[in-house]
């Protein structure tokens, strides 16, 4: 049945984290993967009209991508991402994503929604993968082989990011990493779908680079390091991706390894609403000298005001740095 079978993959949310894995997996099974393409105005509009108004911006964007795939594919792949590690969840929205997709007004192709839940252990995980692959082949070895190849793709992708390229660099142009050349180094914290989606982040990375800064992100820090930093919180944080944000910010601020941090959060993100306040508190308590600016994005974010704020922040950082340089000399 795989002949010409097309699986749609919305280019949103966890796409930035796991796409190479699933692309390779499906391709190895002879299934074509169709992307919805980068976010643009039309997609966002589609999404905001269809989505429940009170959902967070990234999920509205996701709806847009879903609709864009509606009549192009035989099925849409929306894994139910419950947890990617034993000790934490993703976000409730990911846990209910396939159901929200099914409840849309617009008719969608069938949804493939394997439940990814590491809390249930690896045995269950393997079972889930085999079940998923069995829709295309009866050959279990082939399915596991495809998955293994997928994991390798994912690792290659992660290696490139660790070396300084952003997912967008890799996915788009495979342009060489270019960190370590500028005077100012800015840490960009936040969910990958907020900082790497060029449209909803208003091209933040490119803009920062054009202002002559180096941009570093969480993915460039070894995961074990993030984990260690975030574990210094008195209570274990039960959202994986927020723990990454916290670990990243702690890593930069405790080492003074960036000149400033921009924390991008989407309105109205449940977990981030608490994490923003938590980080501000912790940095104040630790007397961090690294300035942090929070940028809240929503579908009405105006480019003008956004740019002004970033420019002002970067200016402030470079004045601060010059001053420090003068004092030191």
């Amino acid at each position: 049945m795989t002949d010409g079978f097309k699986v749609g993959y919305p280019q949103a949310l966890l796409y930035y984290k796991y796409f190479p894995l699933w692309e390779t997996f499906f391709n190895r099974l002879g299934v074509e993967v169709v992307l919805s393409g980068p976010t643009n105005k039309a997609l966002l509009n589609l999404g905001t009209v269809e989505a429940e108004n009170e959902l967070c911006l990234p999920v509205k964007v996701f709806y847009g991508h879903l609709l864009a795939l509606a009549d192009k594919v035989d099925a849409i792949f929306i894994p139910r991402m419950v947890s990617v590690e034993k000790s934490a969840y993703t976000c409730p929205k990911f846990m209910g994503l396939p159901d929200m997709a099914r409840a849309t007004e617009t008719r969608l192709p069938p949804i493939m929604d394997p439940t990814i839940n590491w809390k249930l252990g690896w045995r269950q995980y393997v079972k889930t993968i085999i079940e998923l692959g069995s829709q295309f082949t009866d050959n279990k070895a082939k399915i596991l082989g495809a998955y293994h190849a997928g994991v390798q793709s994912l690792h290659q992708y992660q290696d490139k990011i660790r070396a300084g390229a952003t997912p967008i660099d890799i996915i788009e142009s495979k342009e060489a990493p270019r960190a370590g050349v500028a005077d100012l180094r800015i840490g960009l914290a936040g969910h990958p779908y907020n900082i790497y989606d060029k449209y909803i982040s208003m091209n933040l990375i490119k803009r920062l680079r054009e202002m002559g800064t180096d941009v570093v992100t969480a993915e460039m820090i070894p995961h074990s390091e993030l984990e260690k930093e975030s574990q210094t919180l008195p209570k274990h944080l039960f959202w994986t991706f927020e723990r990454e944000v916290v670990g990243t910010v702690f890593h930069w601020s405790r080492r003074n390894s960036v000149d400033g941090i921009i924390y991008v959060l989407a309105f109205p993100c449940g977990p981030d609403s608490l994490i923003q306040s938590l980080l501000e508190h912790e940095m104040r308590r630790e007397r961090s000298t690294v300035p942090m600016m929070s940028l809240v994005i929503d579908e009405h974010s105006a480019e003008g005001g956004f740019l002004t704020r970033i420019e002002a922040f970067v200016d402030m950082l470079s004045r601060k740095k010059k001053l420090a340089g003068r004092v030191a000399n």
């Binding site: 009170e54 934490a88 929205k93 846990m95 959202w239 923003q276 938590l278």
Partner: protein
């Protein structure tokens, strides 16, 4: 040490009782008012959910009145509640308050995490704590059962306000009850009191089910006393969540009547996995109310609430498939009673005309 805790419905009576059994000095915060909300909104993170803001407001008011130890529940996600205590502690310290925070984690995170903090503050043994909980629980359940009976009675009352009056009296008696025998007696007497309210049980009433987020459903200040409002207009109200169902040792939910397992199974075609909070219950109870022939459903939750926003994205589908009207109320600090009441009135009118139309069709 003077302990306090957040306000939510009759939680004041429930926790107060347990603390008395453990000889812990306590002082409930003043009842939640607009001032509480303003205080909470001022200090809490802007996009946090409303319960967090009100908790902070309650704590501030209680500390201003002399409390110095804050009791909070913990949790392990995936919704924000599990990190509330962590945040509240930080926000209040940043605001300059000095206090001890006592966080009780749910027993599912390990009995030690649950019992140890109680032991530390009360100086009681595990056995004594166990006994206090065991004897306090039936009383807590009694409060829930009284509430439920009130909802089933108010719409039939002949004289406005009689049920509410009986409820208050019944509560006051139960609050004083201590020993198991006293508690049992007080619950029975309370039920009799409510049942004695003069009623016309033959009159036709609309039936509305209320689903949504726990805190909003339980705290009259934020749900604008919707149950009483509807009851006073002759609507039989059924609420889908009760506090002892939530904290109870089993997941059978004896007060509301449907176990977690049944709810999960029922919701599956629409919401195939738990999403924290009342996500699944909100969807499942909407279906149940439809099956039970209710006229409509009110869905209430705080703005930015993750689980119930998911439910809101799904319930319209259920509403269509099950042919049951649902009205959603998203509550935040700006929500005013007038707006809620206007929409509720229109909703009740809609349900009345639907009933008439149905009767015309069915003869």
């Amino acid at each position: 040490m003077l302990m306090t805790f957040p306000q939510m419905g009759h939680v004041e009576q429930l926790i107060g009782d347990i603390l008395e059994r453990l000889d812990i000095d306590y002082m409930p915060p003043p009842r939640t008012t607009a001032k509480t909300l303003a205080l909470g909104t001022k200090h809490a993170p802007e996009f946090s959910c409303l319960p967090l803001k009100l908790n902070i407001g309650n704590f501030i008011e209680a500390m201003e009145a002399g409390a110095d130890t804050l009791l909070m529940a913990g949790g392990k996600g995936p919704c924000r509640f599990g990190y509330y205590a962590e945040l509240e502690g930080r926000v209040l310290r940043d605001a300059g308050y000095d206090f001890t925070m006592v966080t009780i984690e749910p027993p599912s995170m390990g009995i030690a995490k649950f019992v140890r903090p109680i032991k530390r503050i009360s100086g009681k043994s595990t056995r004594q704590i166990w006994r206090a909980l065991k004897e306090g629980f039936p009383k807590a359940r009694g409060f829930d059962m009284l509430e439920k009976r009130v909802l089933e009675t108010r719409c039939f009352e002949l004289k406005l306000g009689e049920t509410t009056k009986a409820h208050k009296e019944a509560m006051a008696t139960l609050v004083k009850a201590k020993t198991p025998a006293e508690v049992e007696g007080a619950i029975e007497a309370g039920m009799r009191l409510i049942d004695a309210v003069p009623c016309d049980r033959e009159q036709p009433v609309l039936k509305i089910g209320i689903v949504g987020e726990f805190f909003i459903l339980l705290e009259p200040f934020v749900n604008f006393d919707i149950e009483e409002w509807l009851g006073n207009r002759g609507v039989l109200v059924s609420r889908s969540v009760y506090i002892t169902d939530w904290i109870g040792p089993t997941s059978k939910n004896p007060v509301a009547g449907t176990s977690d397992a049944e709810l999960t199974e029922l919701a599956r075609p629409y919401l195939g996995h738990f999403v924290g909070g009342e996500g699944v219950p909100s969807v499942a109870h909407t279906m149940l109310y439809a099956n039970e022939g209710f006229d409509g459903v009110v869905h209430m939750f705080p703005f930015t609430c993750m689980p119930d926003t998911i439910a809101k994205a799904i319930i319209p589908r259920v509403s269509r498939d099950y042919d049951i009207p649902v009205i959603h109320f998203t509550i935040d600090e700006q929500t005013g009673k007038a707006g809620v009441v206007t929409r509720l009135e229109a909703f009740v009118d809609l349900l009345v005309s639907r009933r008439r139309a149905k009767r015309a069709v069915n003869g």
